[in-house]
């Protein structure tokens, strides 16, 4: 079957220091909580402009890694090199409720940015008519798009997405995923998408990483043609391979929600040992 074509090449050898096109270089990263290493001697290189998805069970440290890359968590050991211009979109939109949408978008930008700048980037995510709205009046999908606009307005070289579609309903999620794919193709920045949804990772990413036991346990390129669908040839093979890497046997009939629950149960059992 097609699976074998997408077998991982060996984990990419850490690129020689100073390679210009690396957007992220991490060497020997360790992050411990109360003496328990959640990330343990992790090495990772992300190429500029590459869309990478990071999969893992709940509690495997994938969100911690993202927070480290975002510079939000600095209780670390090891080397972490990230672009100066980086932006994060979280699972919750985290818009400041006391600022109108456009002010939220411009928040934290240096100097005195014009409203027109916010309008431009909000148009890019399809929120032209909500520029002056209060965040409380936005729907879940709109709020998430506004948060995306807030990340993009910084023109990041690295865009970090922490399960940004996790709280959206299934239909909105599909549209949001399409939007992210479009924006990435237009902007060409490196993207790291943290998710627990294998389908989402395969739909969007060039490269999928699986995190386990504090390190990158599995690393594969996704050579599917874009735009992708779940029915694309090779998709199913990659999917079941990734699921087995995540410790879930793909019965072919389990939906994503059930997967997630199983993962969580498994993770809970695992951490109890």
């Amino acid at each position: 079957m097609a699976t074998d074509l997408h077998r991982p090449v060996t984990a990419p050898a850490p690129s020689p220091a100073g390679e210009p096109e690396a957007a992220v270089r991490v060497e020997g990263l360790t992050r411990s909580f109360d003496g328990r290493a959640v990330i343990n001697g992790l090495d990772l290189t992300l190429k500029a402009g590459e869309f990478t998805a990071l999969l893992g069970r709940s509690g495997c440290g994938k969100s911690t890694l993202l927070r480290v890359l975002a510079g939000l968590d600095r209780e670390i050991a090891g080397t972490v090199l990230v672009p100066r211009r980086r932006a994060v979109a979280f699972q919750a939109p985290r818009l400041m409720p006391w600022k109108r949408v456009w002010r939220n978008v411009l928040l934290g930008l240096p100097g005195k940015p014009e409203r027109a700048l916010a309008e431009k980037v909000l148009a890019e995510v399809g929120l032209t008519d909500r520029v002056g709205a209060w965040p409380k009046t936005l729907s879940g999908g709109e709020a998430q798009r506004a948060a995306l606009a807030r990340a993009l307005v910084r023109e990041p070289d690295l865009l970090l997405l922490d399960e940004p579609f996790g709280a959206l309903d299934a239909l909105t999620r599909i549209k949001a995923q399409q939007l992210v794919a479009e924006l990435w193709q237009r902007r060409g920045c490196a993207v790291l998408l943290v998710t627990h949804d294998v389908d989402e990772a395969l739909l969007l990413a060039d490269r999928v990483l699986v995190m386990r036991e504090g390190g990158i346990a599995y690393d594969t390129a996704v050579g599917l043609d874009r735009p992708r669908g779940v029915g694309a040839p090779g998709f199913a093979g990659l999917r079941s391979r990734l699921l087995s890497e995540l410790g879930v046997e793909d019965g072919g009939a389990a939906d994503a929600g059930a997967d997630h629950q199983q993962q969580e149960v498994a993770a809970a059992a695992h951490s109890g040992v």
Binding site: M96, K99, L107, G108, P135, K136, G252, A254
Partner: protein, 295 residues
């Protein structure tokens, strides 16, 4: 996508209603649109509806006074009170007294407000500040401030100072507690989002912490206004030679219940005005807040 749930077993459904044809149709009840249900009372303007309660109370009071149930020495009738109020306004006594009292409240409010807010900022924004300030304020807070009146008189004499100080004290504690709680209640996720957007410490304070603490501050302002009037009454009932409290004390000596009630009405009126001001402020400053506003 894949289908995860098998469709319900059709046999089970059939078994349950063997004689589906003979089933009696259920009683239907109309769901009346809210606009119809509200129509009658809702068409009356809100402010008018709000005045119905007080007006009824007033009417009842007048009836009791007129029928002699309520003796004038116990409580004067609304009519008498209105006349007394008119006289007091006409001869300038009441406006003068109100001016003095309002000035006391304003000065005390500003003074206490600044002190309370500054202390709250110090202990809310820095851990060092919290260690230094919070324990002290919490300790002092447990002292009933009315109990400090004798001490204030010894320290500050019997002029304006002890009255203003009393008001400032009551105001400062309320503002401190609420602003401090407001600052500490700001969502840590928003702080983190602010950090990820590149805000520095001052930017975080200005764009995230302070706006987030504003609802708490407004609650504090409401409480402190109420306390300010209370402190005013206490302060003015001791050694005052001007102001509404003084007018009330004088009236007590002459058994003028009508003047006493006029003064109480003035207090109530001033309190209500303050409340309206705070409400307006809240509407302007907190319009972003996604809260339940009643139906």
């Amino acid at each position: 996508m894949t289908i995860s749930h098998a469709p319900p077993d059709p046999a089970a459904g059939l078994e349950k209603t063997p004689a589906s044809g003979s089933r009696t149709s259920p009683d239907l009840e109309p769901i009346v649109p809210a606009s119809v249900r509200r129509a009658r009372l809702r068409s009356v303007p809100r402010w008018l509806r709000r005045t119905v309660g007080p007006l009824l109370l007033l009417a009842l009071w007048q009836v009791f006074s007129a029928t002699g149930v309520l003796h004038p020495d116990v409580l004067a009738s609304p009519g008498t009170i209105a006349r007394a109020g008119g006289d007091l306004i006409a001869d300038g006594t009441l406006p003068a007294a109100m001016g003095v009292s309002l000035q006391r409240v304003a000065v005390g409010l500003v003074l206490g407000g600044v002190i309370g807010t500054v202390l709250a900022l110090v202990s809310g924004l820095s851990r060092l500040g919290e260690d230094l300030v919070d324990a002290t304020v919490q300790m002092l807070r447990t002292v009933p401030w009315v109990g400090l009146i004798p001490l204030f008189i010894i320290w500050l004499g019997i002029g304006e100072a002890p009255k203003v100080a009393l008001i400032a004290l009551g105001v400062a504690f309320h503002l401190y507690l609420n602003v401090y709680a407001g600052i500490r209640g700001v969502d840590a996720q928003l702080i983190e989002a602010g950090e990820s957007l590149g805000l520095n410490r001052w930017g975080l304070v200005r764009h995230v912490v302070l706006p987030g603490a504003l609802p708490g501050a407004m609650t504090g302002l409401r409480y402190s206004l109420a306390t300010a009037w209370l402190a005013l009454v206490f302060g003015e009932s001791i050694n005052a030679d001007a102001g509404i409290g003084f007018l009330m004390n004088q009236a007590r000596e002459f058994f003028r219940t009508d003047v006493i009630v006029v003064c109480l009405v003035v207090y109530a009126f001033l309190g209500l005005t303050a409340d309206v001001i705070v409400r307006t402020l809240e509407r302007l400053l907190l319009q972003w807040r996604p809260t339940f506003t009643g139906q």
